[in-house]
Amino acid sequence: MQFEEVINDYRIESEPTNSGGGMCMWAFAAKHGRKYFIKEFLQPKWPTDDSMGSPAGKELRRADCHEFERRHKEIIHRLGDVTKTPGGGNLVTAVDFFRANTTYYKVTEKIVTASLSSVSALSVRERAVIFRTLVLSLEMLHRKEIVHGDLKPSNVLIQRGGSGLHTAKLIDFDDSFLSGSPPPKDQIVGDSIYAAPEWFAYTKEGSTTAPEALTTAVDIFALALLFHHYLTNSLPDRASARYSAPGQAVSAGERLLVDGRLSAGLNRLLVCMMAPLPGDRPTLNEVFAELQDEALLANRPVSRVRIHMGNPEKGETDDGDRRLFRSLQVCRRYSLLHRRNRQHEAGDQRGEKQCTSVS
């Protein structure tokens, strides 16, 4: 893809770049007077008759391509159903997916990409509206068993609408997959900074982690990091500098530091959403129910809270770990929904005991 090149009637109108693109190049394009955002996938590459490689290798490569096409078309089909339902307008999905010569492309409408990267300056009410909108959009995906797979600030567009209210639009489903059925470990993509511990376990060389381990719960983990980032302008800290990604740190049993300015209730919710084991994380319905309590999103002026996630693969536990794992089990078993009907103060106190150990 090059500037001014025409690909399937899309005229490339900007210098293609890899900036923020991971495994793709992207550019702006125009077709029949409409503006688009076009992505070129770096893999797989369809072998033409003139392509390099042996005939046997070309057959294997074409099989790779057929599987890639099947995955993307399935996601596009399911997303098509979702966008027709109420609220589906907050999902910015592909309008075209095609191969030109050796290379695959995906096209979406060009949208204004200016977005709030932090909501900490907004009122608690506005924060709640944005968070709930985002959770509802994601829940529409999960209902169709679609994992977004690359939740991060740049893939959520928070904009002020004509009514003065902010909206959250979810974009970039190029790395989406069906729950329990991710791409092969050497082809899965997504920003590692927001990746869940099981994503790291799956992609690690020599790993025996099955693809079934990657479910909609990877989005729950990423959503917790996203919430934390929105409210504090940072991700939860790790106890050591060894791991740049929170999920990688959790996978290795490292400590996470949840910002203590967050309310006790939100602290507890985030800890549950970032649980080492996917099954211990709440569902989006449960998260949504929690967010009905807007007091959760009010900050408090206290220091950070240290939690030790432990390494579930190694069965690592100490007193703090045991307390935490017990609390996570409590989170799951009793469900976050139960707390909704309890008094806030009592609920917050109990939540802190259940889900965090304070150092």
């Binding site: 495994m23 893999q43 390099m52 490689g53 294997l60 490569r61 050497d186 790291f200 060389e205 060894r242």
Partner: protein, 187 residues
């Protein structure tokens, strides 16, 4: 990297400098083992500072041999997250592989393939069983003119970012910031 909230726990770099085996086989290629940075930064700088961007005669150059040496590097294995990044900087086309006359040169890479098809197989693809490179980790950043073999490589090789330069004008149409940005985004 910090701006992208990413960090590197271990950085290894090797340099493969090339000219043209058909022009002067005695100084057509020179390369290092991997330097571990920042510990071996001084050795790295010494090698790079000694390089002279001249010679090679007319284009094309022996870039595919250099690319083969890069692909055959002893890449790190076993880390949680690995990126094996090959960056090709050239302002010229490349001689085809398999010229028996240049294979006689003392410094010619003995393991260099005989054809670009063979080189492609070493680069590999998702279901490849004979690749030298690890599919999930590998990236090729190609700062080269829009001519063969580079545009053909860009079309056929996966995980490859092609940023065309104009032959004869070096890399002046690529700001260094863009180059660093492209590298950082692939990691």
């Amino acid at each position: 990297m910090a701006q992208k909230s990413k960090s590197i726990s271990q950085l290894r770099i090797r340099v493969i400098a090339f000219r043209d085996f058909t022009d002067n086989p005695d100084d057509a290629i020179e390369f290092t083992d991997f330097f571990k940075l920042p510990g071996q930064q001084a050795e790295f700088e010494t090698f790079v500072s000694a390089l002279q961007a001249d010679g090679g005669g007319d284009p094309p150059e022996s870039a595919l041999e250099a690319l083969a040496v890069a692909i055959d590097s002893e890449w790190e294995r076993g880390l949680d997250r690995r990126r094996h990044v090959v960056v090709m900087f050239t302002d010229a086309a490349a001689h085809p592989l398999g010229d028996a006359s240049v294979r006689q040169a003392r410094s010619y890479p003995k393991a260099a393939p005989d054809s670009i098809d063979e080189l492609f197989e070493r680069w590999g693809y998702p279901s490849s069983e004979d690749a030298s490179m690890e599919n999930g980790a590998k990236r090729l950043l190609l700062f080269a003119p829009d001519t063969r073999p580079w545009n053909a490589i860009a079309a056929d090789w996966n995980n490859t970012i092609f940023l065309p330069s104009k032959a004869g004008f070096g890399l002046e149409d690529h700001e260094m910031e863009e180059i660093i940005n492209a590298i950082a985004n692939s990691i």
